[in-house]
Symmetry: D2
Subunit: 433 residues, 4 copies
């Protein structure tokens, strides 16, 4: 995570201030439950809430205590006691540090997920708007980077919309995965803390109780979470790559918006480069890479070790902040994308008529030729267009074997572009319907 690729709202989810505030709330909710079941005085729980709500936690002071105790939660509790006074002895009763740390981490991930879901909604809205705008903007479809058959630019965006809608569904599932709380004590047995405390805290914080924990919340949940972010990042990379391709000088069917004052190159003043989508490609590599350590984190030893902690202190912020930034940047790119339909048209017709080759192939087979013969006939005419710049229809009309099977009007009819776009409505209905 670096400021360059960070947005403030997501950064604040991961601030020390946010973390200590959540820690306090977990402890205070636990006190409520402990009071309710009669373990600690109701009055004390109330005082703890009041003192904590009024307090401003001093991050530096907590750090200082931690340097001595080498234990972050103890440092925080010691600091909290400075505000609460004698009642502080009722805090953290029967709990273990991980009860606080893990429940907090899940709350942070859940908040991060909410921001990411909002990002996705904005992206989906932009994709939808531009998809309908270019629903009928005909452009060449390409397989292997080679011209194939016509499609529309709107269909390309509808595809991206469907993909990110799937990503949204995945993120909702991933958020569900990490929406649990554990207040289960030293090794998860509830020996020193009643399971009702966990239930209360979970409910108060919008989480579900972890059915069975050790000292920690099981890390398969987090592995699934970060793996999901990696998949979402890969979808960002796909759309970014599409735009980079379309902005290539020789293609130039779209361009990222180029703001006044922006300079593309220190050396070459004419340059307008797809730097935003290139940037997204790199960011996607990063978010994807975080899935690996998250998966390696699953196999903690026995009831827990702490090897996952350093990983999560990094990838928690890094993955969510980077993905948030990337989604917002991608939304902006889509929103402002310059689209050049006339250029799409010019490219489509670069090899004169060739994009209709399959229709001719099918017509020949339907006229009774074998598939193999039809293929041979079409290929030999197609190659003249490809290699010598001939016009496909002209060549076909001059090919005796072709004309033996098809009439001139048959052939001419095969060159209608509307043939290729007739089901665009069906596709849009499926995606947006």
């Amino acid at each position: 995570m670096i400021p360059r690729y960070s947005r403030p709202e997501m950064v604040s989810v991961w601030s020390q201030e946010t973390k200590f505030r959540i820690w306090f709330e977990i402890e205070a909710h636990a006190c409520d439950a402990l009071a309710e079941i009669g373990v600690i005085p109701v009055e004390s729980a109330k005082k703890i809430w009041e003192a904590g709500n009024a307090a401003t936690f001093d991050v530096d002071r907590i750090d200082e205590i931690e340097r001595e105790t080498k234990h972050d939660v103890i440092a925080f509790l010691t600091h909290l006691a400075e505000f609460v006074g004698p009642d502080s002895r009722f805090i953290h009763q029967g709990m273990t540090s991980s009860d606080v740390l893990d429940t907090c981490f899940n709350i942070q991930l859940k908040r991060a997920s909410d921001i990411l879901l909002a990002d996705m909604d904005a992206l989906l809205a932009a994709l939808k708007r531009r998809a309908f705008e270019h629903r009928d903007t005909v452009t060449i479809g390409r397989s292997h980077g080679i011209h194939a058959e016509p499609t529309t630019f709107g269909v390309k965006l509808a595809l991206a919309y469907a993909e990110f809608e799937r990503c949204r569904t995945r993120l909702v599932a991933a958020r569900e995965e990490i929406s649990t709380a554990a207040i289960s004590g030293a090794v998860g047995t509830f020996a020193n803390i009643d399971p009702r405390v966990e239930e209360h805290v979970a409910k108060a914080l919008g989480l579900k109780p972890e059915p069975v924990s050790t000292q920690v919340i099981p890390r398969d949940r987090h592995a699934m979470y970060f793996a999901t972010l990696g998949v979402i990042a890969s979808s960002i990379e796909r759309l970014a790559t599409e735009i980079r391709h379309l902005q290539r000088t020789e293609v130039l069917e779209v361009e990222e918006y180029f703001s006044p004052g922006q300079k593309g190159s220190s050396a070459m003043p004419h340059k307008r480069n797809p730097v935003l989508t290139e940037n997204l490609t790199g960011l996607a590599r990063m978010v994807r890479s975080y899935a690996m350590p998250a998966m390696e984190n699953v196999a903690l030893w026995h009831e827990r070790d702490i090897s996952h902690s350093s990983v999560e202190r990094m990838i928690g912020p890094d993955a969510t902040i980077t993905l948030d930034f990337a989604l917002a940047r991608l939304t902006n790119v889509i929103d402002k994308l310059l689209v050049y339909p006339e250029r799409m048209d010019r490219n489509l017709n670069q090899f004169r008529g060739l994009v209709h080759s399959q229709r001719v192939l099918l017509a020949l087979t339907q006229a009774g030729l074998s598939r193999e013969d039809s293929y041979r006939l079409v290929q030999r005419n197609a190659m003249k267009v490809w290699e010598h710049g001939a016009d496909f229809m002209t060549e076909l009309l001059a090919d005796k074997e072709v004309m033996a099977a098809l009439s001139e009007s048959d052939i001419r009819e095969k060159f209608d572009i509307g043939y290729h776009t007739k089901h665009v409505g069906t596709i849009f209905d499926r995606v947006f319907g």
Copy 2:
């Protein structure tokens, strides 16, 4: 994928024979639909089914044709035509190779998922059986590899059960992700093939139509699929690691079953090694690693390139065959695991009474001491046990500051093991209830 780590049922999902049979069925179902909407003769569709059902596809012959055409689907269609005769010209009308390849790949993945789900059910059954068997087998819980507080071996297995139940849910979702068919033609526009064909083929094969495809089914689906397998593999690694730890010479609370005739070491005849779970650890590394190329596969160029194909030809079989083998091996390990409760008991009491330190801590705070003072009192007595082999209760009873706060019977009561297991029932209800 190597024979050593393969099971026949899963291997057969990925055989050439299976693949060509699925290809045929996709083509034949498409012919049915084409016949129904009047594009090809109903009689021809019927003949195609009859000829294909009667045919035994010759893998070597297809390979031979492919060496010339350098195109696998064309090679297959040419071979199929040898069985079908003149009606073969109605096959593959308006379709593109990827319609066949991608729909087939998804069918294979779905079948593989069904086997994996059955594997998981067997594993869950074994875990449940052993969990209830050892519901009350007390054992020391360990954090950081250091004795913490008591738990039961059944709770450990219940945790694994809950984890694999989550993995099962994830696999069901992953199977859903890849359960789509696409018969959408060259660039996914249905220009040459009616969307109704796709709907028919999908339904006939137990799939859903892909709402919008390019020439290929979008690869974010497969990225999610293989990422999910990676998470499941990580959970296998966790449980395998737990068993490896428990079989260490100094711990020896469980052992993998050691069959008569088995040799642990060519050099040291006394060795009985946890080789199965070590093997599972390695297999988990492999399955996990396949998530990365699957994620890199998402960003295909424009309407498709074919870079994903070589990856999937490898990880399709490799990931599913390896995971199938690993799940079956793990089930076997759990089923036959030798569990030594008396050894668990001995280890638990290695540091005499120390596992009860937290209870004493809590009792002191409840007796009115500050958390900090309580901690100091407990720690100074605990260290004597830890470092000099003292007995914790004896030390506490001899500590004047402690005795000023607690009575002897108070202290003795804190050493009741039942205190730690009183909520095991709650946990089991949550997991299995």
Copy 3:
């Protein structure tokens, strides 16, 4: 590893037959050394060689024994004893299985490396030949996919040559890393086997003794080896990506060789797709992915566990066979690559004169304008070319501010293409000199 992407020579390195033959040689060389230092009879060592050399090891029989013993080396030794007779008791004296397994694995990796080095030499030769062939074939350089300034196609290939020469150097270092033998007994202490045996075996097999081993050869060596293959694969991906880009329909400056009879698409007969380089892109993803489990293999427990074994049984063959195939395929692509200089020339001039913009910028600054003013002047004329298809020189000559700083002949001189290629010789000298 699948037959489709395998070449026989590399496959044979990893066959069961090869492995057992190497195992035998390790054991027999060890017997020689044991005989020489008087531990076993010289006559027996001789007989062991004779019997083993004459024997054909029966893979199925060894598998059968392993199914009982669950130990592969013991199974092999039992089978070997069937050939050797009573002297077989002198085999494997004081050795541990890993002495055989690890030394064998390193021999296989070393042989694999030799094949890969030969592959690289062939690739380097092809790159060099084509580089000199196109030393002066001017083509547009592109940054961000956008036209930048001219370079030559030979320089592109010289760059690839330099990159693969670095890869070759890395592979030599990686081969060195794994060129060690360990015959150090149960935990690497030489308790039961004299270090001189290790020295003899290592020397006889062209390896160096591992300075200090545990029961196994340390796996950091193998991590480095497979990481290096991953880097080489990434360089393959780079060159493959370059070719894929250059073959795009709109660019079409090169094409993969298209053999007679080859079919690009079952649906579109005109298609000629860069399928080989796309395939290389996918293969690179696979080879790269194997670096992760190899790195995870390093942290074996204590003096060894066996979790690395399943990983290496897979990635040993998979990584080397796939990389061998990829290098050979890339060499073939380069060797036969169709290069279209006239198309390069056409693309270069697509935006008339714009590639000379930097020269004009520099001329303006040298004529005394500030960098900022110069940039502004060039950019405003460049944008007319970019956006309206104007001719850059014409625009400059019509720009009063520009003409105030430069004369017409000054400007005309800036449009000389030779200016850009004047140091190609220097570059070639650096790379090939």
Copy 4:
């Protein structure tokens, strides 16, 4: 990178201040060379040095300019011009931004490498010191976590020493990989800048000229660099894992130093946990993960795109800062490690005499029994020790078949611990000699 896991010297390598200072030096050295070959006035080059050396670059001001220009190098040059005045127009002549950025990045990586090499030297010194201290401290060697045969704790450390010496060699090679400078202009052709400038700048900054660059220095170099860091991290993980294992409660042969005031657990005051080495395990996962995006960075498009930039802005600091911290932490752990020889002795003898089983096996074969019979005899006695706590020597002496082959004194002699350590000197000579 987070402050918690950062050390100031390495952090400063990556500060904005350091970066701008290096940028200035690259530009100023280039001016020297340009002056020497007569492209710009000698006087101007001198003034540029003076102004830049005297200047304090204002990071906020540069950021502000970048917000407008969206180009970091242009922003810096604009700021630099504010110090230099009119001569600033001679700066960056014929150069491209990447000349500055890439050369700077390599300088930073080289400086980072120097710190890492110093870290390694400190680690090696600590390992050597402790290795010699415990050269003869006998401890049980373990394979599969199961007792195998004796070794010494010094041998364990010697192994780590040898491993990190290899890592050091790898790091030196990796530093060499990235010790290049490129000042080659827009697409690497030196069209606008003489190759002598590159040679001068490279030499002045302790780098080698990149033989052939595009607009960027080829990223295979950086892939190799970060892959090497990943391997080093994996070796850290191995040693950390060893220590974690040895500190387990049941083993407890070593302990991380536990400082006065440190608290192991908020709940359990007796806990002393191997938190430093657990932390190192997590950090290793992170450093390792950065190898993947670095490898994906290799395949930039044509003469460059900028997708690598965001990756490197993150992993440049993240990988080196984390590895620096980890190496220093590991050195500290080794330096202060508490070693308990008496505990090692106790563990070694846990299964009475069993560690000598192989010697007995060998003695039996040398006494003329077949390997299979010897194995059977040893195994049946070993199992009594293993399963019923018998004494191995007693059992052997009571086994008639054994005694038929060996005398009592023969057997007694096999239980000499010195037998296992007799080659420790050889090993130390190999490693440290």
